[in-house]
Amino acid sequence: MIRAESLTKLFPISRGRFKRATSLVHAVDGVSFDLPRGQSLGLVGESGCGKTTIGKLLVKLLEPTSGRILFASPPAKSGDAGGESVDIARIKGATVRNFRRHAQMIFQDPYESMNPRRVVLDTVAEPLQVQGIGASHERLDLVSGLLDRVGLTPAANFLFRHPHELSGGQRQRVAIARALVVGPSYVVADEPTSMLDVSIRAGIMNLMLELAQTQGVTYLLVTHDLAVARYMCQRIAVMYRGKIVEVGATEELLQDPLHPYTRALLSAVPVPIPGFRRQEVNIKGDASAAIDPPERCRFYDRCPLASVICLNSPHPTLAEKGPGHQVACHLV
């Protein structure tokens, strides 16, 4: 359904008012991946790795510096052929508005992602309204139905509430309703549970999983929490400094991590079992942003396995090391 090819997004760091940008942050650098229909993908990595940027690129909140994002709209009925592949990075004008029916986003902060002066009805109906879908009473029915389905029942109680009258979990449910109201093909979820209380997170995650089934939605889940990614996604892609270093089926990647960064990340996650001895986290140095990175492997200065090959060759490309399991490393 979605194929990203060599996606790159560079941000300039400006120096002086009249001088042109001398440095560029390589937030996303030549990233390629697939998001097949029905297979939710978890983009995991630490802060600054570029996962949020990719999420925004996929809903056209940002435009890529280079690369393509090919989107083939799924068939309207099963058995039909899907739509043609379109590079959404190139579309303009009215086509963009049509595209927005297919891609939506759930944001991290349940409170800040809603206009505090508008009520739930307006917030959830907004996508319908700006895209001119349905008459106003149809929109009312659609929104009410959706509110029921996300667990805000009876809908009539919630339609006219302001965000400050809702709890964190309720707000995020409204956000989910808004993302799904146009019936999108895929939804980018940017850390949807990280600002929620622990006991509420399970409810939201289960709701999202259930809706994925019933509404036929595929998620691109952006998160730093591997455990959440495991719970919600069939496939996981691990990012480091703007590049994907490993991607594969969730369980397999967790059982058999191949890239040294993935290994370090996995061994660093605390385990809720008292007395459990984790492996030593095998990584050197400190994280930093990818500003004007040299051509070699991005992980070189922190990699425990770094060798001469890694120093002298360009950044490794993703290579298949197992069924559906790709790794970008010279030494694996």
Partner: protein
């Protein structure tokens, strides 16, 4: 399911009820701060003056004696006459009743203030929103314009303008509105608009498919309005005061206002008499001070409504 008309009516009704509740809650917060109530009380008092004037003119006062501009107090020996039973605040050097002048001018002062305020807010909100949204050249232009306006001393500019064109109250209000609207108020509202623009709900609106117009008018402007309302109050203050100063110099094309009252006293030399002719200055000066302060106090109280962080955490 519901039909279109039913649906729309029901939604409108629910929203009206919500608006009412919102107003009541805002009022409750407003009432808590005593300065707000004081300010409002003063404004109300002046409002009573506005209403009382035509009533008095139509009943107790006869036009020949009490008209603020053309009247003459035949019942007094010497002008200006100190306060007496027929003339509660005395008369001015031209024999006109001071109280009548005071009440007559109140309406025009209010109109002046509110016109200036509305014009300011309308312009500043638009400029702020557009500047913040489009950035780049547009922003640069409006901000430089604001810089120039702020740099220029307002009173001098007004003096020049009125010398050239002979401004009356309405024209003065418009000029003040435009100056303030493109000036400091625009800068403040643009800063606020910028802080709104980085909020995730703006991104959410874009992902939903919102056009530029939609985002500006549905999201940015309504969130600017509380702050705009606040600045309206301060503009009223500035307008009334500017008028007083300009009238004091006698250069406005106005026949009667509080400023003119002081001007009359001054140009006839009575200001130098110390406190002997207090009724020529105190009522007008007091009215200006009181009304300006009142709007300022209301503005401060509104600030607490608009800015939740300023509210006191616990009662009393």
């Amino acid at each position: 399911m519901t039909t279109d008309i039913e649906g729309r009516l029901w939604v409108r009704l629910a929203k009206a009820r919500l608006a009412l509740r919102g107003f009541r809650e805002a009022w409750a917060i407003f009432v808590e701060s005593r300065i707000g109530i004081i300010g409002l009380a003063i404004i109300l008092f002046f409002g009573i003056l506005i209403v009382a004037y035509p009533i008095l003119m139509g009943t107790v006062w006869d036009r020949a004696t009490y008209d603020p501009i053309t009247g003459f107090a035949v019942d007094q020996a010497a002008q200006p006459a100190p306060p007496s039973r027929q003339h509660l605040l005395g008369t001015d050097p031209l024999g006109r009743d001071v109280l009548s002048q005071l009440m007559f001018s109140t309406a025009s002062e209010f109109l002046l203030g509110i016109t200036a305020a509305v014009v300011t807010v309308a312009i500043a909100t638009s400029v702020g929103a557009v500047s913040a949204y489009y950035g780049g050249v547009v922003d640069l232009f409006f901000m430089r314009l604001a810089d120039i306006i702020i740099m220029l001393p307002t009173i001098s500019l007004l003096i020049v303008l009125t010398a050239l064109f002979g401004l009356n109250l309405l024209q003065l209000a418009l000029v003040l509105g435009v100056l303030s609207g493109f000036g400091s108020t625009a800068v403040v509202l643009k800063a606020q608009a910028l802080s709104i623009m980085v909020k995730p709900y703006i991104e959410a609106a874009r992902v939903a498919g919102g056009s530029r117009r939609h985002i500006i008018f549905v999201h940015i402007v309504p969130n600017l309005l509380p702050l705009s309302l606040l600045y309206m109050m301060f503009t009223v203050t500035a307008a009334i005061f500017s008028e007083a100063v300009l009238s004091y110099f006698g250069i406005l094309n106005v026949r009667m206002s509080w400023g003119i009252m002081i001007h009359t006293a001054s140009s006839s030399g009575y200001l130098l008499g110390g406190t002997k002719f207090w009724w020529l200055i105190l009522p007008a000066g007091g009215a200006i001070t009181l009304l300006c302060s009142a709007f300022y106090l209301v503005g401060r109280a509104l600030d607490e409504v608009v800015n939740p962080r300023l509210r006191r955490q616990y009662g009393r």
